[in-house]
């Protein structure tokens, strides 16, 4: 290797003890001894690595590092745990305070809406309305006490039977003539008292025959709940 110089890679491997065989290593060392260029290069490599190794001897003031690192890690772990629990905590608070609000609010206050349950009366009203409409009658008025309607006279018998079967036996009625549902302004005179009705004919004396025979007769009635 007298006319050749050792490539830098081989010098580096030689330094790190990575030359494959002892024989090859000896050859390289012999050359380095005899070649000033390679000897200089090898020496520069050795000094470079030696200077870098000196950096390892540097000392730093790291006295607080361990304590601070552990403290910071614990703080972050606590914060992570809290953030993870946040949705559950928020939901729990919502349930607790929502329940408290619901139980303590004033139902009769000016801003509160009181909803009573007229389920019984409403159910009766619906039943009556259904029965009347099934017989092609018309609903004129709805009150808490009664449902007022109007129906052709000839259909009233069937309506009475239907109402009676469903338990609505208190009916008051009057008969009117006219061209349809009572015209506005006509004064209605109701029978005195509320009649218990059921299956059967309209009581005599209340039947009015049409003077022309062509106009429909209507009976206005009130079904008491």
């Amino acid at each position: 290797m007298k006319n050749e110089h050792i490539p830098f890679d081989m010098l580096s491997d030689l330094y790190d003890g990575l030359i494959a065989t002892e024989e090859e290593k000896e050859t390289l060392l012999d050359h380095i001894d005899s070649c000033p260029v390679c000897r200089l290069e090898y020496e520069k490599l050795r000094k470079t690595i030696s200077l870098m190794a000196e950096l390892r001897k540097e000392e730093f003031d790291l006295r607080e590092l361990s304590t601070n690192t552990i403290a910071l890690q614990k703080h972050r772990a606590r914060r992570r745990a809290f953030m993870k629990a946040m949705p559950a905590i928020a939901a729990s608070l919502l349930i607790v305070f929502g329940g408290y609000w619901m139980t303590t609010r004033d139902p009769g206050g000016s801003n509160s809406i009181t909803i009573t349950d007229p389920r019984g009366q409403m159910g009766n009203t619906e039943k009556i309305v259904t029965i009347v409409r099934d017989q092609k009658g018309k609903i004129v008025k709805l009150t808490d006490a009664y449902v007022e309607g109007e129906i052709e006279l000839k259909k009233f018998m069937k309506l009475r039977r239907g109402l009676g079967h469903k338990g609505f036996q208190k009916v008051n009625y009057r008969i009117s003539t006219g061209s349809g549902p009572a015209a506005g302004g006509q004064k209605h005179i109701w029978r005195k008292g509320i009649e218990n009705v059921g299956a059967g004919d309209i009581p005599p004396g209340n039947q009015v025959s049409s003077p022309t025979g062509s106009q429909k007769k209507y009976i206005r009635f009130r079904v008491y709940k």
Binding site: F8, L18, E43, I49, L55, L65, I70
Partner: protein, 197 residues
């Protein structure tokens, strides 16, 4: 470090790891104290800012604590820690611009003086010649390409083996050799140009 002391330290590391995983986080301070110099030195060589290096070193150890359950014990703990360190620094570098020395430009008349403030926290007890040599070496290491600097710090400063470096960087042994050769040659030429060798 001798093989025997390395084995002993390795056993101590595993014992500490078991205690930490059992819930004793404080025990990790033993590991921090054993590896803080190595970690800080590497980080400081990468970023050349003492305070940043402290913060980053702290973050690296916190990351190690949090990931401790994933340490499979197939390699040395120091190798595993080094992997975390190298990757953290790479990611950090992507986000931040690094800078070497603090400099002040003072204009005096028509001349401009560039004053470099030495960081006395490094080694206040060292004599001036050694400190100056080290300063030059650090400057030149800083100028190296990132992958050469990183591998020379591992090999020639910390003394990691080629196989350990290959495991940390997840590259082939041959690539480790090539990078070491090129890094050393580049650094050698630059230190020679500056008259240090």
């Amino acid at each position: 470090m001798s093989d025997k002391s390395e084995v002993k330290n390795g056993d101590i590391d595993l014992e500490v790891i078991d205690r930490v995983l059992a819930g004793n986080t404080e025990a990790f301070s033993d590991i921090i104290e054993r590896y803080q110099e190595m970690t800080f030195r590497y980080v400081y060589a990468q970023f050349h800012n003492y305070d940043d290096a402290l913060d980053i070193t702290q973050e690296i150890f916190i990351m190690a604590i949090n990931a401790l359950a994933t340490f499979r014990r197939e390699s040395k703990f120091s190798t595993w820690l080094y992997s975390i360190m190298v990757n953290y620094c790479k990611n950090y570098r992507k986000k931040k611009n690094r800078y070497s020395v603090v400099s002040l430009n003072i204009v005096k008349g028509e001349e401009e003086f560039d004053i470099q403030l030495p960081d006395h926290r490094e080694n206040p007890e060292a004599d001036v010649i050694t400190q100056d040599s080290l300063r030059i070496v650090k400057e030149e290491i800083n100028k190296l390409p990132d992958d050469y600097r990183e591998i020379l710090l591992m090999r020639d400063v910390e003394g990691l083996s080629y196989n350990e470096i290959a495991d940390i960087l997840l590259i082939k042994l041959n690539n480790v050799k090539v990078r070491i050769h090129r890094g050393r040659e580049l650094l050698k030429n630059r230190l020679s140009d500056r008259g240090l060798i």
